[in-house]
């Protein structure tokens, strides 16, 4: 099977990630930060090493500003619900995933800034949507639907000028696009470990800048300040209730080592090259529509397309069943994004490349799509 669903999770991981997961499941699966014995302390120390690597990787102030979560959705919920109170207003965009939009829908007033046809958000539209009640701007760095990458640094500047906190959904960008939270003016960053950082499933993280004070959304045992029935206020304990998924978090650190060794810019360049190669091939097919940006600028490795008149889930199903290629059809938990780029009637077929894909992966998919579109003539 050819795996092209890296936007959902990177199925293939570096060998060192698997090795670390097995080793640490066996030897260091104690309860990190909940005890003083050898294994608890050793496990906590190894979890800390991942915090340190991640903080350095993203330019965070200190490792304490990173809290581990199950995934990026949890991180977004912790950040939004921990910072925005009832009555506050949030500005977000049409390119968001339901992890943001559903959270805002149930939590507070919000304004959705529309996107251009290629998925780009005009930063000035975000400025215009800010009201005196606006407390937070939430923007997705790279679209999980069509791969469009937003100008985060410019939006960060607007947030700073307007005195509004800025949260970035980095689920599709951390590990594949260079990020410096300070330079980009990011106050909170939701991170997926199991996508770009190539960790096992069950790892995400939330970066919270020193300027932001959160209310805890999940409360419980943190291994600290136990006599106090109130949740500790300091990071990361305020967000670390319950037992951490230590072996997977430690393995995430090995994923970061791999990225650092290979070079994030090289990874970005390689993945975007594959995406653009596919786009070029698809554009030459009469019956195929490609959405989003078609050049390498302002995009990541995710490509969305349709065969005219065909159901995207059917196409994705045939790619799987007949050609052995894993893509994802449908709406990708981001209907507003599909609406913005014009694929809301049909959804779309998403191919998303990862570091272990090659030119062969692209050509194989393109040939299969071509054969399929011809067979329907």
């Amino acid at each position: 099977m050819l795996y092209l669903d890296n936007a959902a999770t990177t199925l293939k991981k570096p060998a060192r990630v698997f090795g670390s997961m097995i080793y640490n499941t066996f030897f260091y699966s104690a309860n990190a930060g909940h005890g003083g014995h050898f294994y608890s302390l050793k496990t906590a120390s190894r979890v800390y090493e991942t915090s340190e690597k991640l903080a350095e990787f993203l330019g965070c102030e200190t490792p304490e500003r990173i809290a581990f979560t199950q995934n990026a959705t949890y991180a977004l919920n912790l950040g939004i619900k921990g910072y925005v109170k009832k009555g506050d207003h949030v500005v977000t965009t049409a390119m968001e995933h339901n992890s943001v939009l559903r959270t805002l829908e149930e939590w507070c007033e919000y304004t959705v800034v529309d996107a251009e046809k290629d998925g780009t958000i005009r930063p000035e539209k975000i400025r215009r949507a800010i009201t005196p009640k606006t407390k937070l701007i939430v923007v997705n760095h790279a679209s999980n639907v069509c791969g469009t990458v937003q100008n985060i640094e410019k939006i960060g500047k607007i947030a700073k000028e307007m005195g509004v906190a800025f949260m970035v959904d980095g689920a599709q960008s951390v590990g594949v696009i260079p990020i410096d939270v300070k330079k980009m003016g990011i106050d909170m960053l939701a991170i997926s470990g199991h996508k770009g950082l190539m960790s096992p499933l069950g790892v995400g993280a939330l970066y919270v800048s020193e300027k932001i004070e959160l209310e805890p959304f999940i409360t419980g045992g943190t291994g600290s300040d136990s006599k106090n029935l109130n949740q500790p206020r300091q990071m990361p304990d305020i967000l670390h209730s319950g037992t951490l998924n230590a072996p997977a978090i430690i393995a995430c650190g090995r994923g970061i080592d791999y990225i650092n060794k290979k070079g994030i810019r090289e990874i970005e360049e390689q993945e975007v090259y594959l995406a653009v190669r596919l786009i070029e091939k698809l554009k030459n097919m009469d019956k195929v529509i490609v959405y989003g940006k078609t050049s390498k600028e302002g995009r990541n490795s995710t490509v969305l397309f349709n065969i005219k008149g065909k159901d995207s889930t059917e196409v994705s199903g045939i790619l799987n069943d007949r050609f052995g290629i894993c893509t994802r059809g449908g709406y990708h938990c981001a209907y507003l994004a599909h609406k913005a780029i014009g694929s809301d009637k049909t959804g779309g077929v998403r191919a998303s490349f990862g570091i272990f894909n090659t030119i062969y992966s692209v050509d194989s998919l393109a040939d299969s799509v071509y054969k399929m579109s011809k067979s329907w003539e």
């Binding site: 003083g36 906590a44 915090s51 600290s224 136990s226 106090n228 990361p236």
Partner: protein
């Protein structure tokens, strides 16, 4: 002089401090003794008492949040702790 205990609020801070100190001196992370933990469970770094000034310099240089400094002594077979200001 006995051992120096530096108490902190979280295991993450304990590890960060341990990483910063361990290149320069002997250190170990321990569960903070109940006698000095105040709010319940927490973690401390233990090192030799004579390292106090160097430890303070490293803490200040890295803007670490510390709950307290204690000197651990033994009296009549029991450990006793003296808070340092």
């Amino acid at each position: 002089m006995g051992n120096l205990l530096i108490t902190v609020g979280s295991v993450t801070t304990a590890n960060r401090l341990n990483h910063l100190l361990s290149g320069a001196m002997w250190t170990r992370i321990i569960h903070t003794p109940i006698k000095i933990s105040g709010g319940g469970c927490s973690y401390s770094i233990i090192t030799k008492g004579e390292n106090l000034e160097q430890v303070k310099r490293i803490i200040n240089a890295n803007n670490l949040k510390i709950k307290g400094f204690f000197i651990e002594m033994e009296a009549k077979g029991e450990k006793v702790y003296h808070a340092l200001s």
